[in-house]
Symmetry: C2
Subunit: 322 residues, 2 copies
């Protein structure tokens, strides 16, 4: 589905020579040829203006983020990125926007060796839909269903800063300029944890990518694995990149870290016997990893503070239909 003006547009900003794929942009289909013994991991995410990004965002940062949230799903499966398709609905042809968007998109794509192989462009309210493809040896994918009682619960990187930045944009709180820059960068340019996901193959028992917040997304692991968990809310609250230097109270920091959303970190489980291996996977992938809890037999998620006392604060998962 591509008309002539539209086709020129795609050609200008999105067509590059096919590399590994037998056939890339410009035919009815792209062709992918997974290596022998490999499965193809596939994920689609759709980003809508006003819901997943602000209309004022730098288009290069948006190009980065649109692909990053998809690569984060591959990371959670332990898959090596291969290729992606991009479907774009645009209110108008804005060349400056397209140039910036494609620059940010391809910078991240090239960093991960992930090739644009096809897509669609149409006029309509701004909407970005990327489908990403990765490769994983048959049987080696990290799933949500493998957590076992006694496993540690880990989180990668930093949590909660994207939500802090969103609240600053919404005007509900203020941050010093330097901390706002840190938080805004986490919101607008999340780092997909692809290298960590690959390093955790054979070590982690379950993994999930954190898009809606730790409480909600870890819940998917608990449900799929038929287990419960205890999480140290204060250990999670320590994971804000902006730390406690903004002087925010602990309840707000816990809320952002546990249910802020838009983190694109990994939460994963691994046996206690694998602690050294997890730490080594973190070092090898240059990704901080922090132990924040444990898998338990009783269903549900129990939050405790640093002294082990129950935290009664309630957290809802970020819901795109809320």
């Amino acid at each position: 589905m591509s008309g002539s003006g539209e086709f020129d547009l795609i050609a200008r900003y999105f067509t590059r020579p096919a590399r590994r794929s037998p056939l890339g942009v410009g035919d009815d289909c792209a062709l992918l040829a997974p290596a022998a013994g490999m499965q193809l991991a596939v994920s689609s995410d759709m980003l809508v203006e006003g819901r997943h990004f602000l209309s004022t965002v730098d288009p290069a940062r948006l190009g980065h983020k649109a692909l990053a949230v998809n690569l984060s799903d591959l990371a959670a499966c332990g898959a090596q990125p291969l290729a992606f398709t991009l479907a774009l609905s645009l209110p108008a042809v804005d060349e400056a926007w397209l140039a910036g968007f494609s620059r940010g998109l391809f910078a991240l794509a090239d960093a991960h060796g992930c090739e644009l192989v096809g897509g669609d462009t149409t006029r309509g309210p701004l909407n970005l839909c990327i489908t990403v493809f990765g490769e994983v040896p048959a049987g080696a994918a990290l799933l949500r269903s493998g957590a076992r009682v006694g496993d540690d619960v880990w989180a990668s990187g930093t949590l909660g800063d994207a939500r802090l930045a969103l609240e600053v944009f919404r005007g509900t709180l203020a941050l010093p300029a330097d901390l706002f820059d840190v938080a805004r960068s986490r919101m607008e340019q999340p780092t997909p944890r692809v290298a960590l996901g690959l390093a955790l193959r054979g070590i982690a028992t379950a993994a999930v990518d954190l898009s809606d917040g730790l409480v909600g997304d870890l819940g998917h692991i608990l449900k799929a694995s038929g287990v419960g968990a205890q999480i140290d809310a204060d250990a999670a609250a320590q994971l804000l990149a902006t730390g406690d230097s903004a002087g925010l109270d602990i309840a707000l920091r816990r809320a952002c870290a546990l249910a802020g959303g838009d983190d694109y970190e990994l939460a994963f489980t691994a046996p206690q016997s694998a602690r050294a291996a997890v730490e080594e996977a973190g070092r090898a992938s240059a990704t901080p990893v922090t132990r924040i809890g444990a898998i338990e037999a009783a269903a549900g998620l129990r939050l405790v503070d640093a002294r082990g006392a129950a935290v009664t604060q309630r957290f809802a998962s970020f819901d795109h239909f809320a």
Copy 2:
């Protein structure tokens, strides 16, 4: 990217047990395992309300069409449908709409053994993005680049009726009720020519799916193959399912057949020596096939009438940015 309310919604209407895929809806990624020696054909199409469908369309017909336009891309490659992902942006949770949409979607998916393996749901202006996956033996895909001088040009099925129906909706022309029903069905429930595409493997030299109209889409074959073509505009105008019984003048019928758009038929080329084989592929797939022209060395597309005289009428390809 799925919150709790949203997740319930997906579970209710779009989760079904995984069949052939090792892992379907409900993890960070779906896993696909193409058979040995097979390449994976991939295509993404995005449908936007008001541009690709009317807000008043029956949701079951829309579910059919959203998948049909993607299956049509697989058909043009000669690929066997395997699986698809669905990303949906919805202005609100409307259960009657979801029930109808998913019914139409799965009826067509089941008819082609094509499994929903993942996706995303969010709130926003109505937008449907499907990415479809098919299997084709390595080297056997029909491409746009294989047309050779002297090849016949063929079209499948019927052309131009979707545009007639659109013009009735726009109020620019009137049709008798029975003919409008025929045209409207072609607009709202196109038939992806998957069986024909499979039957043309090893016979057709090039193929393209007709979404923007014959003139524009055949142009992709001509450009990719470095050739030109002569097309019998009157033979094409004969391909309206509504025929000439609506009393429409020949110029309008030519325009709809050649550049109406939204046909989801195949245009393809094959050597003259393969005429019997093409006819047999049409019979085997229960799909009408009509010879409408020939590939020539001189670049460009020349239209002639039934007597071979040049047709000077100009046709623009349907352009989603027009």
